[in-house]
Amino acid sequence: MSITANDHALLAQGHHKQSFVTRWLMSTNHKDIGTLYICMAFIGGCVGGVLSMIMRQQLMYPHNDIITNGNTWNAIITAHGLIMIFWFVMPALIGGMGNWFVPIMIGAPDMAFPRLNNMSFWFLVAGFIFVLLGLFLDKGTGAGWTLYPPLDNAQYSPGVATDFSLFSLHLAGISSLLGAINFIATILNMRAPGMTMHKMPLFCWAILVTAFLLLLAIPVLAGAVTMLIMDRNFGTSFFEPSGGGDPVLFQHLFWFFGHPEVYIMILPAFGIISHVVSTFSKKPIFGYLGMAYAMVIIGFVGFVVWAHHMFVSAISTDSKIYFEVATLIIAVPTGIKVFSWIATMWGGSIEFKTPMLWALGFIFLFVIGGATGVVLANAGLDQELHNDYFLVAHFHYVLSMGAAFAIFAGFYFWIGKMSGHQYPEFWGKVHFWTFFIGVNLTFFPMHFLGLAGMPRRYPDYADAFAGWNYVSSIGSIISGVSTLVFFYVIWRVFTSKEKLADNYWGEGATTLEWAIPSPAPHHTFEDVPIIR
């Protein structure tokens, strides 16, 4: 591959000048759509983050009066969960970074179906509007992000808010489904000559496995949501005991989607962390094939463990044992990944740039979240821990710290490639350390609250829980301030005049995106690159 300086200028301009509307509203370019997804994730993350700040302020003191109505509280927790999952983590990792870098990494000129790609994005925006309507209309959707009936059926949640929230899942689901089809078609068919599956960068493997998970899980969610909408509006009784239905059926369907969804959020994060760790250790990834197939195994086993979310629901004793054992098995491929990251660093020449700090933070905190996951997988212990703050701590350690740390790692790693300007190193590190302290202070005390028996989704609690709740709320304020530092970093990036080299990370960065200019030109590969 050789791209001359002259070509750079030509590529950067694109073939013709596009108007703003043509470029951003009718985009068919994977990088522009990736950018749109990242903007969506930014907005979603801000809205979800503000909701979490409101909740932590309410919980700062017992008998607090910021939110006095249980319906408002339930609407906020529901919207926080849905928005953070579908409009922050997923668009950032899959739609955003996946769109931006999967075609580049495999040497493809664009995604397989560019117009489908655009459609995926705008479905997601429509879904976001719907989920906000679900938050603000009427009394809001107050069933929690798991949307268990009968609480969200027509009798207990009258009004249109719940319908909007349910439809928002349809829209986000279609968006994800089309995106998944696009990624699978792209990765399987559009790899450059020489880019065999077993040479493909781990981020592409991660997105490929994620896409298959989406392809198989989203239709089940769509089915469950459709049945709920039918129950609500057309008098069916899929989940209505008085009509011969069963609310437990919904729990099975929801978690058959919901558990793979957890891996949908974390597998792309694994991919990003692999790249960052390898780059800043200046070493190729250790045990590449083990890393790739560990993700495949996690994806596969992730489909057969769903009922560990239902250990205290209607489920037989022997099923509990099966689901416990199957769940624990996931610890093995996850262990392969963690130890391989450490082995990648072993013998390396590690530079502690901001993306590497986020990656190291990710590995450590994800291991803590994984350890509490092993605890929760024990059905016998889950009888005590189910739905209490120990669980809240666990899933925030793997998501709020796992997935979010990976998103920030990817942001600092690739922002130079995406924008053409480097982030300020000092402020990046300030952002990392304040966020690291903030989220740990927020979520670690929740383990204690859970052990003491505080249930989740409570706007007010017994006075004995006040101490750790106060600490947790202080932590959330620190995380909030840290996010302001992040805003400043973004401002610095976009006001920077600095020009960046193609490969600004040096010898450790070996994937194809580092062979093209920074920022990446509008059309990446005029000629098909040959991978040796």
Binding site: N71, N74, A143, G144, Y148, P150, L151, Y156, P241, P247, V248, S281, K282, K283, P284, F286, G287, Y288, V312, S313, A314, T317, I321, E324, L328, V332, G335, I336, F339, I342, W346, G347, G348, S349, I350, F352, I363, F364, V367, A371, V374, N378, A379, G380, Q383, E384, D388, F448, L451, A452, G453, M454, P455, R457, D460, Y461, A462, D463, A464, G467
Partner: protein, 313 residues
């Protein structure tokens, strides 16, 4: 020496007996004068024994509540077992990361190695985690079977979740079926716990195996008793069972642990565990004082107090 000591004890006993008699006489006079109070306290409170030990959450609590049942004791043990193993894993990973970050930082190790494979170590980090999992799974499965063993109970209480109160039906005491509401924040009296105390607690005998049949009349609820190690969803149209044996007279608390609408945080569970004799006395008193719940109280907010249960005999 011995005799002297014995005599002095006798003396002390005499003195305290005198004082006690005096106190009793004074109390009797007081009670006779305060006629209304006398009438009320003539029926002794059969759940008084439960007030001596209160197993409620405490400030800055960092571990499970004190185990009130053998099941919770087992959960506590397994939790410590699993958590220590996992703490070992986290500590090991932290040590490795710490070592790598110090030993292989760029300033100390400027030239990176190119090692990308080591079959032995890759096998080790598959096999060792598998062995750790086996060590966890064996005691864990035992606990699952123990928790599931609801057979041969001394008595059964049918627990029904409602928006937003609990209903307790004693299957072995025909007609004993009453509701239990949280005491609203502005009506909390000294000795009660805000957000945990209820107007009519569930009363159970200690040392007997009690089976809970848990269901719901409307939406999902969660019957969650952390100090007894019991938790099950209350699902409309489905009956789930769990069990407990309370070892010590005392007051135990629980809360609704599955989102159920605007009063989700306002339907705690309070259990008074008393000796069998007191329990039997309580069932008589309760049967006389609580009328059977055959109508649903209004669901409006603010929360209605338990008027059905408080109806005159």
């Amino acid at each position: 020496m011995n005799n002297n000591a014995g005599r002095s004890i006798m003396k002390r006993r005499d003195v305290s007996a005198l004082r006690l008699t005096g106190l009793l006489v004074l109390t009797a006079i007081f009670l006779v004068q305060a006629h209304g109070a006398w009438a009320q306290s003539s029926a002794p409170n059969p759940t008084a024994a439960a007030n001596q030990y209160v197993d409620a959450p405490h400030d800055w609590q960092m571990w499970f509540p004190a185990a009130g049942s053998p099941m919770q004791a087992r959960i506590d043990w397994l939790m410590k077992y699993v958590l220590w193993i996992m703490a070992g894993v986290v500590g090991f990973v932290a040590l490795l990361m710490g070592y790598v970050m110090v030993r292989f930082r760029a300033s100390r190790n400027p030239k990176a190695s190119k090692t990308t494979h080591n079959t032995l170590i890759e096998i080790v980090w598959i096999v060792v985690p598998c062995l750790i999992l086996v060590a966890i799974i064996v005691p864990s499965i035992n606990l699952i079977y123990y928790e599931a063993d609801t057979g041969n109970p001394y008595m059964t209480v049918t627990v029904t979740g409602h928006q937003w109160y609990w209903e307790y039906k004693y299957n072995s005491v025909p007609g004993l079926d009453y509701t239990s509401y949280m005491i609203p924040d502005d009506e909390i009296k000294p000795g009660e716990i805000r957000r945990l105390s209820v107007d009519h607690p569930m009363v159970l005998p200690v040392g007997k195996k009690i089976r809970f049949v848990i269901t719901s009349a409307d939406v999902l609820h969660g019957f969650y008793l952390p100090s007894l190690g019991v938790q099950k969803y209350a699902i409309p149209g489905t009956e789930l069972t769990s069990w407990t044996t309370i070892t010590k007279p005392g007051t135990y608390y629980g809360q609704c642990n599955q989102i159920c609408g605007l009063g989700h945080d306002s339907m705690p569970i309070e259990i008074k565990a008393v000796p069998m004799k007191d329990y039997l006395a309580w069932t008589k008193q309760a049967l006389a004082n609580y009328t059977q719940n055959d109508a649903r109280p209004p669901l409006s907010s603010p929360m209605p107090r338990n008027q059905l249960a408080d109806a005159t005999p």
